[in-house]
Symmetry: C2
Subunit: 427 residues, 2 copies
């Protein structure tokens, strides 16, 4: 048996090898024609359809292990695969095959007075590491999306889903092999030890260019604080909905209920409702009545409670809490300026919405709030790559470097300049 | 007198305070109208014109200190200001005032089937740290460029240029104050101890978003290896010029001499010449004759020396050396495929050029080489933000995250989404 330190050396060596293989795959993958990549994606989807029984068997092992390990019902649900979920995985891969290939897209072009013609063209971004927890579908979703953009990907599944992820990954590799692209284009880390994650966070000797964590807050927090490479992620979505004095009340009610209650567990769900003091007397109660009727608990500032006494008292902690549950915090503010001040103080800079008819209030809200997504007269729950028309997304980023908002196939690219001359030299 | 550890605590506290002040300036600066920023820039330029004598006096102190410290002639030259250089600084600030303000630019817009109108809009990027060495003009150039894009900047000048930089910085602050913008929009680190740099590399408690090193290779290497925040930089420019079998010989000669010899000390200067074996017998000698005549030393592979025996023998180290001098390494390759292999093996991914008439060779060179800038029938010395029509640049980046190639005012921005609805809720 290996000693702990030998195991540790092993993991370092294995992860370094994975990094080198990923880097070596970058050039053939970057040069792969769109049709070849799409053919590989189709073969991946076909293999998953064919191997459904084997994938479900692998998943049954993970579920049995999870039961024994005492996973929570929520974790067991995330882990579980069934025919419907496998169908969704296959549909997801086929959707990615149908997306426009961003590599080679000319995103800007201009001519210089000396006759040089300059183009800015999309290129793959580099080797992408995806670190996720119990959802085995990420193996296919993230693997296919990174691949479509020409990026080698290193997938590190949680140990809970090791068998399910390995079964799906085998189908992805089969698709790669069927068209002669490097198997290392999509690698699954074969080590469940958490030290493997540590190696990825260190950047695999420069062979990992960006990390995307997919999972709960503690995973994202660890990755954000320890990673030595850039991270595309959001730690939390403390999203605000502001009801301006110029708001249409019916619309405000409808949007508030949808923004909070359509799905409470997603990052774009509203967590704080801000109501303009100027209309609090008329607007607050109908909105809170509707939320309460929909099953939402209300935690309000003292001033708001005076107008709607059934609310619990909010504490300072409520303004910075992402409930991901049927709970909303409520405060009154002095118009759009007060809303901006509250949001700039407490927001996680993910998504904020304003309901208003006054264009000046909307433009100020749009100009002065520094969040990834701002919406006017629409629900915060539209914060989603699919809803933005980007197709599949690997997540939503709140950082301001490179990718911000939904991270789709275009956000997984970089660019280079192509300059065409006729013999120009510099004076 | 303070003990070493008290001094160290002091520096940590000073730098943390600088970070906090920069972050606090971000919001007013992001919301500053273009006209106000341009008025501040004009006032900065005017203050420098007015204070020319004081700036030259401060520079004389730096020069005297430098003389005493035994700075090299090259360092002394970089440090030195005179009327002409101050004129250039002033012209640079005025040019930046004339650039289009990128903040608020709509860079993409589209409508969704449900009626939502989505816009992607440029925003400032965040707090930028600029770490530089002896050139005092960076204080004005980098300060003004970051400011134009709405970003607070923390400038850390080398101790050699401390007095000159402080004198220029005072003029920048005067411009800020004249329009009521926060003085902390452009801060100069008042500590010459290198520990201040260490604090910046750690990211100032999350208050520094990106670092731009401006200086020699050892500074860039230290920043790249130690920074915990993103870095926009290039470590070196090992730029290649490839002469294809389809090249026009006269054009090849002209471009080779310009790419290598116009200025040998800039990052876009060619360091390696690759010649297609198919035309080596006819093309190599005229090109090397012209380079030698222009004063360039030639270090060639054995095979190339057989055709041009006056060359020195190149060693393996030559393929990875940025000479920044009148020296060029020369190798023969098998057509464009051989050139691509050589470049992908040895390049620093900065800038590469091909001289060719065959469109297939050009397209392959453009598609398969992963460098920031690729040129066809033009000199590598065009690798420059000004030559690209971007106006001023803060440097050239070879990384693939966020900024790549010349880093101008647009590359110093991020973006956010503005979504306009009419009451849409998500199904």
């Amino acid at each position: 048996m290996l000693t702990k330190s030998e195991q540790r050396d092993d993991i370092v060596a294995i992860m370094a090898g994975i990094g080198r293989k990923a880097r070596a795959a970058a050039r053939p993958l970057a040069n792969a024609p769109t049709a070849l990549k799409n053919k590989a994606l189709a073969a991946m989807a076909d293999a998953i359809v064919r191997d459904e029984a084997a994938i479900l068997e692998a998943n049954a092992i993970d579920l049995a292990n999870g039961e024994e390990a005492g996973l929570t019902p929520a974790m067991m649900d995330r882990l579980k695969l069934d025919a419907g979920r496998i169908k969704a995985i296959v549909a997801g891969i086929r959707e990615i095959a149908g997306l426009q290939d961003p590599v080679g897209d000319v995103i800007a072009e201009w001519d210089r007075p000396n006759g040089l013609k300059i183009e800015r063209v999309r290129t793959p971004l580099g080797v992408i590491g995806v670190i996720y927890e119990s959802r085995p579908n990420v193996t296919a979703d993230a693997g296919a999306l990174c691949f479509k953009a020409g990026n080698p990907v290193i997938l590190r599944a949680g140990s809970d889903s090791a068998n399910s992820s390995a079964a799906i990954h085998a189908c992805m590799v089969e698709g790669l092999k069927s068209v002669g692209l490097p198997e290392a284009s999509i690698q699954l880390v074969p080590v469940t030890d958490r030290a493997a994650v540590g190696e990825m966070l260190k950047g695999l000797d420069g062979n990992l260019d960006v990390i995307v964590p997919r999972g709960g807050k503690s995973l994202v927090a660890r990755v954000q604080s320890e990673a030595r490479v850039p991270v595309f992620a959001h730690l939390e979505g403390i999203c605000h909905l502001y009801i301006d004095r110029s708001a249409d009340l019916d619309m405000a009610v409808k949007i508030a209920v949808n923004a909070k209650m359509r799905r409470t567990g997603i990052c774009g769900a509203a967590e704080t409702l801000l109501v303009d003091r100027a209309v609090a007397k008329t607007h607050l109660a109908p909105i809170l009545d509707a939320l309460a009727k929909a099953g939402c608990a209300i935690r309000a500032s003292e001033e708001a409670r005076a107008l709607w006494p059934a609310a619990e008292q909010a504490t300072d902690a409520d303004w910075t809490t992402e409930y991901l549950d049927a709970i909303i915090s409520v405060a009154l503010v002095d118009g759009v300026g007060g809303a901006i001040d509250h949001i700039e103080t407490y927001s996680s800079h993910h998504t904020e919405a304003i309901v208003a008819d006054d264009p000046a209030a909307v433009e100020r809200f749009f100009a002065e709030i520094d969040s990834a997504i701002l919406l006017h007269n629409a629900s915060t729950q539209f914060a989603d790559g699919g809803e933005f028309g980007m197709g599949a997304e690997i997540g939503i980023a709140t950082g301001k470097m490179h990718a911000r908002g939904p991270v789709g196939v275009e956000q997984l690219t970089s660019f280079k300049y192509r300059v065409r001359g006729t013999g120009q030299v510099r004076a």
